[in-house]
Symmetry: C2
Subunit: 251 residues, 2 copies
DNA sequence: CCGACTTTGTGCACACGTTCACAAGCGCTA
DNA sequence: TAGCGCTTGTGAACGTGTGCACAAAGTCGG
């Protein structure tokens, strides 16, 4: 176990009978998993699911880490956050890992998703979102365009954004996906928040302001492109640099 | 942020007096900017562009950081990576910052982009990609479906994936966007790489294997959803925990 | 039953990124 | 020109995440 702050170290033998402290530490553990590790666990899960379908029953950290594109030590540390489910000298049982990762990621429950903004991207998401992580049924779609209201997209009828509070409550939406034009995003976000949605995936290129208890993740195409652009530029500069400094091309 | 390959280690602190190291440090600096800072610079740039359009000429780190949703010290440090363009006691000139960030991000050149896989998502990207970061013209589209070849999407004719090498070379594509089904992604990736594309934005939920000199960023919807799911689960557990431990609801 | 071999789980050290806190620097006013 | 108040730029402390290397713990063959 990694040394945390002085506080939650005594989890070992659970000394003092403090109220609410006798929990199996599984829940405490969940809080301690680094976000980066969570992201990787999701990747491992996908790889493992693929292996399970190919009837692979056991895999070593070395093999799995190669398939997931990470260092094997990191993989083992990531897995250690969720418990000790490997067998030394052997490896991990694929099925066990799948189950445990799904448990930690909360994939044993279904998470109802809504998509707001049924443009090009929203369309794609409505058709796409339910399928890859099989625990995310899209259960509501919203737009402002009157021509779209009531139209079925991917099997779901589009509702008006004004109905977000009612529809989200009815269908117990827990994750909201924003795919609106930038100016509309904050307004939509506010409505989702007041509808009780606690997690938001934002595709609109704006910085959303939300209360502390709401989790926002953003997917920003422009930013991704610009990061790549930065690398292109860096490479070009390096090449120019190497050139100037009289580097000889081998061969 | 999110998971990247464990590779990007060679970004380390510029070591000692190696030959060709005496450059004006602008280029050296570029190498030293942390990836996380680059991502934020792109966000600042967008905010700043918005401000410029509203004829704001000057802004303090405090204001800008609030608009970008970060801490002001972090913002100043991020900006310090690209140089000292602020005036103490006053703030930053919006236009200067815009220019400098664009320079660092390599946005002064146009980066030709191709999209592979013209399904729902590819469609959305073809229409979307050029516009938000104004320096990214989509100049080629590819698919395997014969019915799509030659069809114009967002003003560009779709070519066959087999023509990737030729078309990418002709149109000087520097960034490849993969929006194919998972099984096709690695093959497409290989073709892009052999066509000389050095940066890839991958929307397919697979771990791509590429040579070291190729930069890959991935956007993985399923992973994002699962991270949110994790947070939903964590919250639920916390609530349950608080409940069990006999917490009294105030009021 | 033992010893050799394999692979996990993790303590430790290091690197990276974030935050704090303050000196340095600039403009404004008198 | 000197003094004051404001904001930048950054050294240094801190916390988090990564990677190494090895002990612990299991399997397997003899």
């Amino acid at each position: 176990m990694g040394a945390r702050r002085g506080e939650d170290v005594e989890v070992v033998t659970a000394p003092g009978r403090l109220p609410g402290n006798d929990e199996p530490a599984v829940r405490e553990r969940a809080r301690a998993i680094p976000e980066a590790a969570v992201a990787r666990l999701a990747v491992y899960l996908r790889v493992l699911s693929g292996l399970a379908e190919q009837d692979v029953t056991t895999i070593s950290s070395e093999e799995l880490s190669a398939a997931a594109g990470v260092n094997s030590a990191k993989l083992r540390k990531d897995l250690s956050y969720i418990g000790s489910y490997g067998t030394r000298g052997v490896g991990y049982e694929v099925e066990v890992l799948v189950d445990q990762i799904e448990r930690i990621l909360g994939l044993t429950r279904k998470h109802s998703v809504c998509v707001v903004g049924i443009g090009n991207l929203g369309h794609a998401l409505a058709n796409y979102a339910g399928f890859p992580g099989r625990g995310f049924p899209v259960s509501a779609l919203f737009d402002v365009d009157d021509d779209l209201i009531g139209v079925p997209v991917g099997g779901i009828l589009v509702s008006h954004v004004d109905d977000i509070p009612r529809v989200c409550a009815e269908r117990e939406v827990s994750i909201g996906v924003i795919a609106t034009p930038p100016p509309a995003a904050q307004g939509v976000c506010d409505r989702l928040v007041s509808a009780g949605v606690q997690c938001i995936l934002n595709f609109a290129p704006v910085v959303l302001q939300v209360p502390d208890h709401v989790e926002v993740r953003k997917v920003d195409l422009a930013v991704e492109m610009q990061i790549l652009s930065f690398h292109v530029a860096r490479r070009a500069d390096e090449a120019a640099n190497a050139d100037e400094s009289g580097m000889v091309v081998p061969g």
